[in-house]
C-alpha cells in the first residue's frame, strides 16, 4: 500500500499491522495531549506541584531527556570532528533520537511554565545571569541544528529523493554537516552544563550548591560530561529495542562495540569526577554551611541513602566497568544490562538534582516535603515517549535510517 515510500531493498511489516501499532501508541499520545490541554486551560493547579515543589516531575523529565539525548551531539562530535567513520552507520539514528528528546524537552517546558503565552519573555527580556536563560537559548539553537541534521535523512526518502532539488540539497547538506556537528557540540556543551548550573548555583539550597570555576559550578561540567557519557548508552539502548521490535539486525556489532567502549570510558571518567565532587561537597561545602551529610538524607523511603548508592555505584561504576571491559562489553546481555543501568543512572542523577534539592528542609525548623505527581503530570510526561515511538516507527519505515540494514539482511537463497 505504502510500498512506494519504503526504502529500496528492505523489508517492512504490512501497512495494517504498522497502523495498528501506531494506533495503540497514538491512544497514549492522545491521553497525554488531553492532560496537556487541561494544564494549559485550567492552569497548573492540575498538577501536584506546590510552593515547596516549584520544580518537579516535568523539570526532571526535561533534564533527563536532554541528558539521554546527548548521544546525538556526542556521536556527531565523534563522527564529524574526530572522524570516527564507523559511527556514520548509527549517526542518523542518534540524530533522530536527539531530535525527539529535544523537541520533547521544549514541549514539556511549554506546559511547565505558568504563562505559556509569555514564554518568549525569556528571550526578549533575558537575564544573562540566569542559567535558565542560557539553557533556553542553547536549547532552542541546538534544536534548530538537530532539525538541520535531520533534514537530509528525511530527504533521502525514496519519493522525496526523486525531486532533484531535494536530492541535491540532501547531498550538499551531508557535505556541510561537519559545521553543524561542531556548532551542535559547542551549544550542547553549554546547555548541558547550564542545566547542571541550574542546580549548582542555588546557594540558598545547600544540597544543590557547588563551588566551581568562574561563574560555572562543578555541576556544570559534571552534567555535560554525564550527558556525553550516558547519551550513547541511550542511543544503543533504543537501537537494541528497535532491532528487537523489527526482529533483525540494523547496526553491525563493531559499530555498537565501538560506541559502547567510548561510552564506557566516558562513564568511568565521569563517575570518578562525580565521586570526588560528592566527597568534597559532603566534607567541605555543606559542613561549611552548617550541614552534616546526614541532614540531606532521610529514612522516609523517598530520599534515603539508597538513592546515592544506586546513582553512583549501581548505575555508575558498574555500567562503566562492564563497558570498558572487552569481554563483558561484547556480551550482548551484559552490554544490555550496562547501557540500561547507565540510562537509569543519569536519570536518577537528574531526579536527585531537581527533586531532592527542594525536598530537603533548609531552615532548621522546616520539614521534609514529599510529592506524588498527579495523573496529568504523568500523562504529559509519557506523551513525549509515545510521540518518540511513533516518530521512530515512521522514520524507520520510510527513511534509510540504518545504512547497514540492507547489507545485514540479504535475502537468502531459499527466499529468492
Amino acid at each position: 500500500m505504502d510500498a512506494a515510500l519504503i526504502p529500496e531493498g528492505v523489508k517492512r511489516c504490512s501497512f495494517p499491522k504498522f497502523m495498528l501499532g501506531i494506533a495503540i501508541v497514538g491512544a497514549v499520545l492522545l491521553w497525554g495531549v488531553y492532560a496537556m490541554l487541561l494544564c494549559w486551560f485550567k492552569g497548573l493547579n492540575q498538577t501536584n506541584m506546590n510552593d515547596y515543589y516549584g520544580f518537579a516531575l516535568w523539570i526532571w523529565a526535561d533534564l533527563a531527556v536532554i541528558a539521554i539525548g546527548g548521544g546525538a551531539f556526542f556521536t556527531g562530535l565523534l563522527k564529524y570532528i574526530f572522524k570516527i567513520d564507523e559511527l556514520k552507520n548509527i549517526i542518523n539514528f542518534a540524530v533522530i533520537i536527539g531530535f525527539i528528546c529535544y523537541s520533547s524537552a521544549l514541549l514539556i517546558l511549554a506546559i511547565d511554565i505558568g504563562q505559556p503565552l509569555r514564554g518568549w519573555f525569556i528571550f526578549w527580556h533575558a537575564n544573562v545571569h540566569s542559567m535558565l536563560t542560557e539553557v533556553a537559548f542553547c536549547l532552542s539553537c541546538y534544536f534548530a541544528v538537530l532539525t538541520i541534521e535531520f533534514i537530509p535523512n528525511i530527504l533521502e526518502n525514496r519519493q522525496l529523493n526523486k525531486v532533484p532539488f531535494f536530492h541535491h540539497l540532501a547531498h550538499n547538506m551531508h557535505g556541510t554537516m561537519a559545521i553543524f556537528a561542531a556548532t551542535g557540540a559547542f551549544l550542547s556543551f553549554f546547555h548541558q552544563g547550564s542545566l547542571g548550573g541550574v542546580a549548582g548555583v542555588l546557594y540558598g539550597r545547600p544540597f544543590a550548591f557547588r563551588e566551581g570555576l568562574l561563574i560555572w559550578p562543578w555541576t556544570f561540567f559534571l552534567f555535560t560530561w554525564s550527558a556525553a557519557a550516558f547519551g550513547p548508552c541511550f542511543t544503543l539502548l533504543v537501537t537494541r529495542i528497535t532491532e528487537a521490535v523489527a526482529g533483525k539486525k540494523l547496526v553491525k556489532d563493531n559499530v555498537v562495540h565501538l560506541l559502547a567502549k567510548i561510552s564506557g570510558w566516558m562513564i568511568v571518567t565521569y563517575i570518578i569526577a562525580k565521586i570526588i565532587d560528592t566527597i568534597y561537597w559532603a566534607t567541605v561545602t555543606a559542613p561549611g554551611l552548617g550541614f552534616k551529610m546526614s541532614h540531606f538524607y532521610t529514612n522516609n523511603g523517598f530520599y534515603g541513602y539508597w538513592i546515592l548508592i544506586a546513582e553512583i555505584i549501581v548505575c555508575g561504576v558498574i555500567p562503566g566497568l562492564l563497558l570498558i571491559n572487552k569481554t563483558t562489553r561484547e556480551n550482548p546481555t551484559l552490554r544490555l544490562v550496562a547501557i540500561t543501568l547507565g540510562v537509569i543512572g543519569v536519570c536518577l542523577n537528574r531526579w536527585v538534582m531537581v527533586l531532592q534539592v527542594v525536598a530537603v528542609p533548609v531552615m532548621p525548623f522546616d520539614t521534609w516535603a514529599l510529592y506524588i505527581p498527579s495523573w496529568q503530570e504523568v500523562a504529559t510526561t509519557i506523551l513525549p515517549v509515545a510521540y518518540g515511538i511513533i516518530l521512530i516507527a515512521v522514520t524507520y519505515r520510510y527513511l534509510p535510517v540504518f545504512p547497514q540494514e540492507v547489507e545485514l539482511n540479504q535475502p537468502t537463497a531459499q527466499e529468492s
Binding site: D51, I122, A126, G204, L289, M363
Partner: protein, 284 residues
Amino acid sequence: MIQDKIAHKFGMVIDLDKCTGCGSCTVSCMSENNVPFKEDESDKKDSITWMRVYRLTNGKPFPDAQIVYLPRPCQHCGGTGDHGHSPCVSVCPATATDYGYDTGIVSQIYTRCFGCRYCMVSCPYHARYFNWWDPVWPEGMEKYLSPNVSPRMRGVVEKCSFCYHRYQLAREKAYVDGVDEIAEAAYQTACTTACPAAAITFGDLNNPAHKVHQIVKPDPHPDPMNPGVVGKSRNPKVFRLLERLGTNPKVYYMSEREWVRKLGDSYLEGEWEKVKNIYGSASQ
C-alpha cells in the same frame, strides 16, 4: 530629587519575645496587598501568605516544652557580599524580579513573570508563592481590593514587597511637600503598623537615626569568618535566618532566649558554642 540621595536599605527587626503569634501581621498584609484566599487554605504548601508565622518549639518534653512564633516576610536578601545578587534575582530568566539598589528591596513584577518558578526553588525561606489558581473573591468582595497593589493573575509568582506602594505614596507626599527625606514614620509596612505587640520595627538600616539601625547595629564589614556575609548584627540578641548561606537578609530577629537564636541557622556539633558570642567583626 529623592532618588539622587544616598541609597536606602530598608529592613526590619522582629522581637520574637514580643511576638504573640496572633496573626495580625499576616492578615494585615493579605488585606493590604490583595492576597487571594481559597475555601480550603489548610494545605500550607499551597496557601499564599506573604507574611507567614512559623511555630517553633524547643523540642523538650512536658513540662519543659516552649513555643516561640517567628513571622517570616520576604527577607529581601542582598545576596552574597550584599551585592544585590539575591538567590532569586540572580536566577530569574526574564528579569521579572530585580534588586532595587536605591532601597534594597527585591521586586516582583507579576506581568513580567512567566511562571517558571526557578526563583521559588532558589529561595530557602519559602517566601515566594505561585498562583496555582485564578484569584477568585466571593461575590461582591472584590469591592474591597486596593488599587495600590495590582491583583495577580494565575500562573505567576508573588511575594512580600515591603509594601513598596507605601514607599511610593510617601515619596509622592514628599514631592508635593518639597522635602528631600522621607520621615521614618512616613513609610512603614502594613505588618509593622498592625502588630498589636509592636514586635516589628521597620526602617532604613543605613540611617543611624532610624530605630531599626539602632537595634540591629549592622556591621558594615564582611564577617571575617565568612566573607560573603555582610551586615551581621552587632547586637548579641539579634540574628538572621540562615545567615551562613550568605543570602544577607534584611530581616533581623531578636530574642533573649538562646534556643531561639540557635534555631536561626544550622550548626554542626559544638559550632554554636563557638560562634554564639561573636557578633560582627567589630566585636572581635
